[in-house]
Subunit: 346 residues, 2 copies
């Protein structure tokens, strides 16, 4: 009889937490016991899992006793506070925050790209940022055939990237504007409805925002190509869910469009969406709720003999966050890599 596991979700009531619950159920993850953890603000709620009502508990020092696997999705400061404690208690943590992603001792894993990295974990495995996961799924299959020299990306990021409340804010703003009223902004610094603005994460001295640097640094780490040349412009757009990306790729040799199309049509996690007659390509409306990242508009770049252009839309709560984390958990189980750090020979 296959083993089943004691799982805890840290940040169970957020947009990603809710999706984690759905995915664990729909993918029949082998669960012996499920513990829902959250901050005091959310504790006391009940969430439904496979027909059962489970209480949401406040996370405490004792929360991780008798837990094999923690799926953490409550932000970087919460992960910094609790991940080491969970590991010390014998759990393996799959962390969806940015807290450990660039820590050289923590693997950063997209199961379709670098599954073997997960084998090296010492208790914590990091889940990449949403825009990075979508990008890496689309370009890794090409990069492994012919190394990419440079990536220029522009993103079109939905409100859901800032959580469930941001999606509500976008809808409320749209309603206000349609009624001729002034839109109110609390989550976002500026109105997003019928507007857009560069991503509102912190800027560094070079003028890159955190979101852009995540794309640069995380892609390098996942691809194990520390010098990969990447630049990004990240933009919030008034879309509810699913991010899109315009991707310009430079190779050192020409990369035939037909070859790229053939490779991507067979790549895992991707669905090729291209109807050139109907001008039909990936759209966030259609990517929402889908496991697959929609990729299309593969073109030879007319400005560069060794360039390709790609376009994608992907559900950043699903493959961009929750699904990737559950896939890592499945990988640990199937490969028998779900051993707690305390059993590692150090």
């Amino acid at each position: 009889m296959p083993r089943s596991y004691r799982v805890a979700i840290l940040g169970a009531t957020g947009a990603v937490g809710t999706e984690l619950l759905d995915l664990l159920a729909s993918r029949n993850f082998p669960i012996a016991d499920l513990k829902l953890l959250a901050s005091p603000r959310s504790a006391g709620c009940q969430l439904s899992f496979q027909g059962e009502c489970l209480p949401v508990e406040v996370v405490t020092e004792q929360s991780f006793d008798q837990v094999d696997l923690v799926l953490a999705s409550a932000g970087a400061s919460t992960s910094r506070l609790w991940a080491a404690k969970a590991v010390a208690a014998g759990a393996v943590v799959i962390d969806n925050s940015s807290a450990f992603r660039l820590n050289p001792e923590v693997p950063l894993v997209v199961p379709e790209v670098n599954p073997q990295a997960a084998a090296t974990h010492e208790g914590i495995i990091a889940n990449p940022n949403c825009t990075t996961i979508l990008l890496s799924l689309a370009v890794w299959p090409l990069h492994r055939v012919q190394p990419i020299q440079r990536l220029v990306v522009a993103t079109y990021q939905s409100a859901s990237g800032a959580g469930a409340r941001a999606m509500e804010e976008l809808k409320n703003q749209a309603q206000a504007i349609l009624q001729g009223e002034a839109p109110q902004s609390e989550i976002f610094p500026y109105p997003l409805a019928f507007n857009l603005f560069p991503h509102n994460s912190q800027l560094n001295d070079q003028g890159y925002c955190e979101e852009e640097l995540k794309m640069v640094n995380e892609t390098r780490k996942i691809f194990a190509t520390p010098n990969l040349r990447v630049t990004a412009t990240c933009v919030r757009v008034p879309v509810l869910r699913a991010h899109s990306e315009a991707i310009n790729l430079e190779f050192s040799q020409p990369f035939a469009v037909e070859k790229a199309r053939s490779i991507l049509s067979q790549a895992p996690g991707i669905k090729l969406v291209e109807d050139w007659q109907a001008n039909y390509f990936p759209m966030p409306m259609e990517a929402s709720g889908q496991d697959a990242v929609l990729v299309g508009r593969i073109r030879q770049d007319i400005s560069h003999a060794c360039g390709l252009e790609l376009w994608l839309s992907g559900d950043q709560i699903r493959k961009g966050a929750a699904l990737n984390a559950v896939q890592i958990a499945e990988l640990l189980v199937t490969q028998s890599w779900l051993r707690p750090a305390v059993t590692l020979a150090r």
Copy 2:
């Protein structure tokens, strides 16, 4: 006493036509007589100009008699039908359609970039496409100092680019979605509200859409740099008015950010919008209704030693169409270039 001119607007009732009327009034263009022309569908309307109600007439063979200047904004097929007749009747045509833009005998003019090209007209002067005008205003001041080697652009184009009815469609779709109803699409092929999609203009065999090729070919012509390497990804976003662009520039030598910022802060037609502390940069909401194109987020590209990144938002009905046309008209008047083609020595 300065001369004044007999002006006709062809396509007076459209989004750009209405804006042309506003601008001719607010900029005190020296008008002796103003004729509003449109298709039979719109004729019979009355439009207000400087407190007067002017009738909209159906365009006929006689419409251009006694007219010095025609501002045409009724689409390429209408311009192809009437422009030569207007020129034969002695008028100069400033054409906002794509009909003549790439015709080598027709100058394509952005007054801040290549005013001298207007002097060579033989009756028709073309107004560039909106995305091209915005792009050229922002990058020409840098290109003239240090030639650009390659441009990689991604656009974020508002509904207004498809006209006033498209703006209504976006609002109606948003209202439907907020009420839980299915959005209806007539102008656009897919719902635009809370969604986005690659620009729905016709695709060529290489996979570039017309809108993207306009950016490539028109920028080359305006800059008189036929081999300029340009690639673009054009995307419709659920914004009512004003387009935005993420622009990646490659030079053959490094271009210091401070130098670029200093140049752009003094460039005509541009307003530098950069508050790095507040993460405040150009937004379509703020660009709407403004003459100036808002430019900001000037960054050294971390993926290319000779690269720069720019971000802009500009009102594509105003500077992207009507204002540029009126500025061309002003240029013809102030430079005494408003001579009819029949007087040209051929």
